[in-house]
Symmetry: D2
Subunit: 269 residues, 4 copies
């Protein structure tokens, strides 16, 4: 099969690889749609260290091609979405409620990190019964593929942010994850959502997805306008969706005492 | 001043009472709008034991008439909403995060319980800086008065229910608090809201406020339709908004394993 | 192999059964020590409905006899303790942090409930990598076997009770689980532990395991002495370790407003 | 009365000040014992900016000298301990469970910060009913004074660290707060406590208060020995008790995935 790989730091290309085979708990998926994440670009530029001929990508939907002997919930032919994070759910960290950390810090992230990713005609999913989800008939692949990472990461940021109904929220950066955090804050019943972004097109998208106000940190410090929009109080919830030290620090500065500064994501998107 | 009181169990009427005077931390409010709660009716019928010439009511908005020497945040003339629950915020239970329990179980409920309520031309509020909220100019008294109890109790039920975005919710009973819990579930991003109610007018209101489906427990057991609507799983969150033992038991039966059955209120409304 | 079974409600006895075989994720354990739980007695008397030739017991330690092809953490010869609850960790309820509810309410309880238990020469464990724990060399089987249920259930009751350092705790009933909740409260830094029990031998054991005071509910209502010992306040944490409606109600009555009434267990032990 | 003040940055000395008078909710305390905190030294050296003739100190016990008209729980002559943090419990941040942040970030810290501290013959306490605690007869002033900050801050670090019974804990720095966090971890039922400290006397004290192992970060990186002592896993709970960026970073490195890195304190002690 064809796979799009990172040959080494800074070098990508296509190569032929054998179709993977499932172990007892695994599934092999025939890819139908996949998305590029900025993390792929980071990886290629050496962000997680050297890799050799590693298939890239971690956001894909597809059709179950083959299953292992112990897989019970899914069967060949099922149309499925695959989470970008595919934990080992029996690991002690997962048992304690921290599935993304199974095995190691961020150990639940395996695709294009510790094993081949999904930019290939077929790809392998561990613990298939726990890491796949069936796609309802009325949802096309083109939509479902956004659930792998952008939607799930952004909405989780909003859920973890513990936004009060009518509360004030700032989302720092309006890339794909930030935009979905903005949409999530709207779904959570926020009363005021401030999208922090300097790129004009993203500012427009931010308003489409629910931002009431935009703060442009290229023109001014982002702290000032947020305090101004909240009568000097700061927001109830700040969602960091960029992944830089300076944004985390800004998130803390714009959050009111007793509010929540959390991180929707940990890599630039 | 005129006050509407419970003379004794089963007996109500108007009587004259002196306008209350504030202690150092208190405010006296001139009533502009007030609402009746089913709890008032319970109280008159003996639900909390005997009372003598107790002014009824716990939901009111008004204008600050007089303040105590230590009140700093509010001043005479401020238009304010007063919570139905007026805790002593320095009490150990309140310090521990359970303000409604300050001093005693449900000790934060003082109006028409341990002191005169708000069905009078003027009424007294303890700990005014903490227990009043200013009404924005654009919000009329007629709307603000719903914040005292119905909205705050119902929305809190939805917030405490920890509804996942897209999650399934059942609200048991669609009285004022249940309707606001339904509205709250909608604001929280629920994917399916089931209003459980037998009164036709309330069923209609339930749909107005956000219910996707209605289950009529007068025609059938409420457990069956809820399980049917959720593929046999039960809901993520069940909000009890009636206050009867049997409704609490139903709430537990219709909640999926690991879901949340909580109580939006503890008296029939 | 020999197994001790419940033939039908009210009938027990020995019978021959084949040694179980592991699926890919399973282990078969050679039993070395096992304990009887009051739940076994309940089960035999029909507490969970009819069963036919079901091997009893859910508390055992042993030696790994055979493993499935996907088991990685354990190997034949390992000396292991097996939890009384053996969840499917990939189930949605377990993913959400409620492993005991995997698959169904209390679905994590499989031994002598939905499959054969451990009163046999060999027994089968699903999801072995997640549901076994290695026994350190210095811990004999006779001690380790108490970890399967009594210790883990009782200590979890104390952990979930959120006891403040120096806080007041009442443990309702001093059977094996209650005694371990008492020991757990001591380990948690409680300042006053009240063991509630009427059987003299259990009262003595309660003091051995850490109770400062004993309240005998056969001589008096248990509410009075607890309030007396806490200056009328009630305790910070009440741990229900019996499993009767009346004990749950007492637990709530003796807990201070804002305190925690939790349940260490739901069946008499 | 005599007071020990910070005249300006870098300058301290005694001066005469009038005995403070209580407002309606306040108390004036006659000081009987007080302790120096490293924070006092920070303050004098400019750590919180310029101050003029500000009385220093925030850890004191004493006798109630005079009370305001609305104080109900305490009366002149009561022997009391005063928390280093004296919040306004009715402030929105306090209502939301973050009393230390009342009014502003760390706004609950008023002594020798936003008003005169306790190094004086008498000192003023706001919200006396909520911010004082009676000292039991059997506890001498010399012991009670340690509750103002060292004990309460250190023990709270251990409580917030959510240590599992038998869990592994590292406490970074063994000053007064770190030592009390070590004692707290012992009271919480930790199985292994690692005290991280380079000063030999503090290493000895650390073992006195409960540390099982000592890691000396002056001789080696503190990360290595902690990983070694925990089979490469890292600890369940790391308690930062120093207040430096580098210690926070170390705390995260030595915590296992899914564990808790918290801060017992935010200033070097």
């Amino acid at each position: 099969m064809k796979a799009f790989v990172m040959r080494e730091i800074g070098q990508v290309g296509f190569m032929d690889k054998p179709v993977p085979k499932p172990g007892p708990n695994d599934a092999v998926i025939k890819t139908t749609r996949a998305l590029i994440c900025t993390s792929d670009s980071h990886t290629v530029h050496g962000g997680i260290g050297p890799r050799e001929n590693l298939t890239l990508g971690h956001e894909a939907v597809g059709v179950v091609h083959e299953i292992g002997s112990a897989v019970e919930v899914f069967k060949p032919g099922d149309r499925v979405v695959v989470g970008a994070i595919t934990p080992d759910w029996g690991d002690p960290a997962a048992q304690g409620g921290h599935a993304s950390q199974s095995g190691a810090p961020l150990g639940g992230w395996t695709f294009s990190n510790t094993k081949d990713g999904i930019f290939a005609e077929y790809f392998h999913v561990n613990d298939a019964d726990a890491n796949l989800a069936r796609i309802p008939d009325e949802v096309p692949d083109d939509m479902a593929v956004y659930c792998c990472d952008m939607l799930s990461t952004g909405l989780m940021g909003a859920e973890h942010g513990n936004i009060p109904i009518g509360g004030t929220v700032a989302v720092l950066a309006q890339g794909p994850v930030g935009l979905m955090a903005t949409a999530g804050a709207r779904l959570r019943g926020a009363g005021l959502i401030i999208g922090i972004e300097s790129v004009p097109d993203r500012q427009k998208l931010s308003q489409t997805y629910g931002a009431d106000e935009i703060a442009d940190f290229s023109k001014e410090d982002e702290v000032e306008p947020v305090l101004e929009l909240t009568d000097g109080d700061g927001v109830d919830t700040a969602i960091e969706a960029l992944g830089a030290d300076v944004t985390f620090q800004a998130a803390i500065k714009i959050t009111k005492p007793g509010g929540i500064s959390n991180a929707g994501t940990s890599t630039r998107r």
